[in-house]
């Protein structure tokens, strides 16, 4: 023990002895800017800040962005928030990217409102800023946004579930995200529109928050089945929640007579559609958002051009209904196509 401690001390002492003069020497050449990019001949740096770095959705976004940047001779620096909803870590990430001298920042904001001042500061330094997947509040602080039309995605899910019930009166369970998150509200509202219902409709047997989590989705479904055994239609905020719900339904022996709809287009979700756990899902295209964002960033770095944004405030990257049971009047692709175009990996 003595030896280890002494070694540790020696190492510490050595580190300090080494470090101090280096630090002092470094002090003399004071640099001022963190805003100017790398020197000449260096690759253009593009920053990407996702909500988290664990969700496969963002992983595929990041992979696509990295590939697109490489193809354009640029370097992608990927950062992420610590947890969904955490603004502070994204603020720090953006600041660090600015200091690293990036030309463009692509971000999926955790807090659409709170991030705005930080993004505006980036813009003020001449950096191209774009939101991916989730728009900022009033599209402030960004030059462009690439996103899914979540209301439309919800609407397509709703239309499919309605058609699949084939005239039976719906007894609907709604597995929501969590209160106060725009994506969740939009999909929820879109779904009801597609079903031809409103929030006050008696057809809604119950609703629960799942945080988009599989385990919570299962518990929520179990509870709702307990409350109302007649449930025959399920709205889910995303595929993990849908897979959780499908598990609960299968445990209750109700798989055959309940229609589960979902949104996302993750490979695990498409596989669940293929296996019959989910009737249909509406795919969104995170890699397309990333690719188009990077392309725009490269164009901006080259000649300062910015993309034109339609009146909706964002560039729609599209949605696609995926099911193996196509229904009249609802254009869809099958799961074979879905598995080729899905994001993440099936597991």
């Amino acid at each position: 023990m003595n030896v280890t401690k002494r070694t540790a001390r020696t190492l510490a002492a050595a580190a300090v002895l080494l470090a101090v003069p280096t630090a002092l020497a470094g002090c003399s050449d004071t640099q001022t800017g963190g805003t100017t990019g790398g020197g000449e001949g260096e690759a253009v740096k593009i920053g990407l800040v996702t909500k988290t770095d664990s969700n496969p959705y963002f992983v595929s976004m990041r992979d696509a962005a990295t590939a697109a940047a490489e193809a354009g001779g640029a370097e992608l620096v990927a950062r992420a928030g610590t947890a969904d909803g955490d603004n502070d870590s994204q603020v720090a990430a953006v600041e660090n990217l600015i200091a690293a001298g990036v030309k463009a920042i692509l971000i999926t904001p955790n807090d659409s409102t709170a991030i705005v001042p930080t993004l505006e500061a980036a813009q003020a330094q001449g950096i191209f800023v774009a939101a991916l997947d989730t728009p900022t509040d009033g599209n402030k602080g960004v030059d462009a946004t690439w996103a899914t039309d979540n209301t439309l995605a919800g609407e397509q899910q709703g239309a499919y579930v309605k058609a699949a019930l084939a005239g039976k009166p719906p007894v609907l369970a709604m597995l929501d995200l969590q209160p106060g998150v725009t994506v969740g509200d939009q999909r929820h509202a879109g779904f009801l529109k597609g079903m031809g219902l409103t929030d006050d409709s008696p057809e809604i047997a119950g609703r629960q928050d799942t945080n988009g989590d599989q385990a919570k989705g299962q518990t929520a479904m179990e509870n709702l089945l307990q409350t109302n055994g007649q449930i025959n239609a399920v709205y889910t905020i995303n595929e993990p929640a849908a897979i959780g719900a499908a598990t609960a339904l299968s445990n209750a022996g109700r798989t055959a007579d309940v229609v589960v709809g979902s949104i996302d287009g993750g490979c695990a979700g498409v596989t669940a559609v293929k296996n019959g756990q989910i009737a249909a899902t509406v795919m969104q295209f995170p890699s397309k958002m990333a690719e188009e964002g990077v392309k725009a960033a490269l164009a901006f770095a080259a000649d300062g051009t910015k993309p034109t944004v339609p009146a909706t405030g964002y560039i729609d990257t599209g949605v696609q209904l995926v099911t193996d049971k196509p229904l009249e009047g609802l254009p869809s692709e099958d799961t074979a196509w879905g598995l080729e175009n899905c994001w993440g990996s099936a597991s």
């Binding site: 280890t4 640099q31 963190g34 955490d86 603020v91 690293a100 709170a114």
Partner: protein
């Protein structure tokens, strides 16, 4: 252990022989200084990233890292004094976030309400600290459980209180971001000055006042502290309330960083502060450690974050390095404690 050292039954009075060993003790004290480890790690990380990347070593970047430290740095001070008593606070982020929400909601209508709102926020945070303190000191429940419960309650309470992001107007609440000082090229915001002052004041209180010694004594050996006549319940209570006040200060710092807050903000503040405290050399068993170390610990995490961004390295490596530092710090503490016994 060392009976031979004992000159048992020594007759004559003799001055404890300190003069002969003084030279040794000075060196020894430098090395025993608990801040040395984290400081070395911080300097080392800075040196590595300065050599590795073009942009890390710039006054702007160092100024930025200091600005990024203000919220977690302030929260970590409260966490430190609680851990020094042998406790832990899992609810610190939740207390601060509720504080920011209360402040922002009250201040929403008028700039004139910002200062009263801040005062209410301070009361709320201090009261929540007092709740933990009361349960821990009077009922003797484990702080881990008490603050875990409080965390769960506050997360729900915050969302019941408001579900959206609340923005405050620039005013007294955001003044910590507005005032900046230039030292040569070095830009320092008022928030940074305040966090450094907080560290200094708390360091003074812990090392130079009786209260500070009692905090350490309670964490070292609560029964012993009680037997020497220290009112341990009052010490515990004061620590939790002071921590609450520091969380309110962190709330103000948070407005200085970003004028918007939401119930989803700072979800990992509790773990972030525990990380900073542990890397900073404070023992999770209580009774050993410094607030200065904790602040350095917070800086280390931020330096890793910044440096790896500059180097374009996958941010997951930051978590790996942080994890290694945490384990190394606790291992060092355990070894020291075992050796000390």
């Amino acid at each position: 252990m060392s009976e031979s050292v004992q000159t048992a039954g020594a007759k004559a009075a003799g001055v404890p022989d300190t003069s002969g060993t003084r030279a040794v003790t000075v060196v020894d004290r430098v090395f025993r200084n608990p801040v040395l480890g984290p400081l070395a790690a911080l300097v080392l990380a800075c040196v590595v990233f300065s050599l590795l990347t073009d942009n890390f070593f710039s006054v702007n970047n160092f100024s930025l890292i200091l600005q990024q430290s203000v919220v977690v740095g302030t929260l970590a001070l409260g966490q430190t004094i609680i851990i020094l008593t042998g406790g832990i606070d899992l609810a610190n982020g939740a207390i601060m976030v509720l504080g920011t929400l209360v402040i922002a909601k009250i201040a929403a209508d008028s700039l004139n309400l910002q200062l009263p709102a801040l005062f209410v926020g301070l009361l709320v945070c201090a009261a929540l600290g007092a709740v933990s303190g009361l349960i821990v000191s009077r009922l003797g429940l484990p702080p881990f459980i008490v603050t875990l419960g409080l965390l769960t309650i506050l997360q729900a309470a915050s969302r019941l209180y408001t579900k959206e992001t609340v923005v405050v107007e620039p005013g007294p609440l955001t003044f910590l971001s507005s005032g900046t000082y230039l030292f040569g090229y070095f830009r320092i915001t008022l928030g940074v000055v305040v966090v450094l002052l907080s560290v200094a004041v708390l360091h003074y209180a812990l090392t130079r006042t009786a209260w500070g010694r009692h905090v350490y004594a309670v964490g070292n050996n609560e029964l012993a502290a009680k037997r020497t006549g220290i009112n341990t319940k009052r010490v515990l209570m004061s620590v939790y309330v002071l921590a609450g006040v520091l969380y309110a200060l962190a709330a103000l710092q948070a407005f200085g960083r970003s004028p918007a807050t939401s119930p989803n903000a700072f979800p990992t503040a509790n773990l972030d502060t525990i990380t900073a405290v542990v890397i900073g050399g404070t023992s999770l068993f209580g009774g050993r450690g410094t607030v200065l170390g904790s602040y350095l610990g917070a800086l280390i995490v931020l330096v890793l974050q910044s440096g790896l961004t500059q180097a374009g390295i996958d941010p997951l490596y930051q978590n790996i390095v942080t994890g290694i530092l945490v384990i190394a710090a606790v291992a060092l503490d355990t070894v020291t404690r075992k050796k000390a016994r």
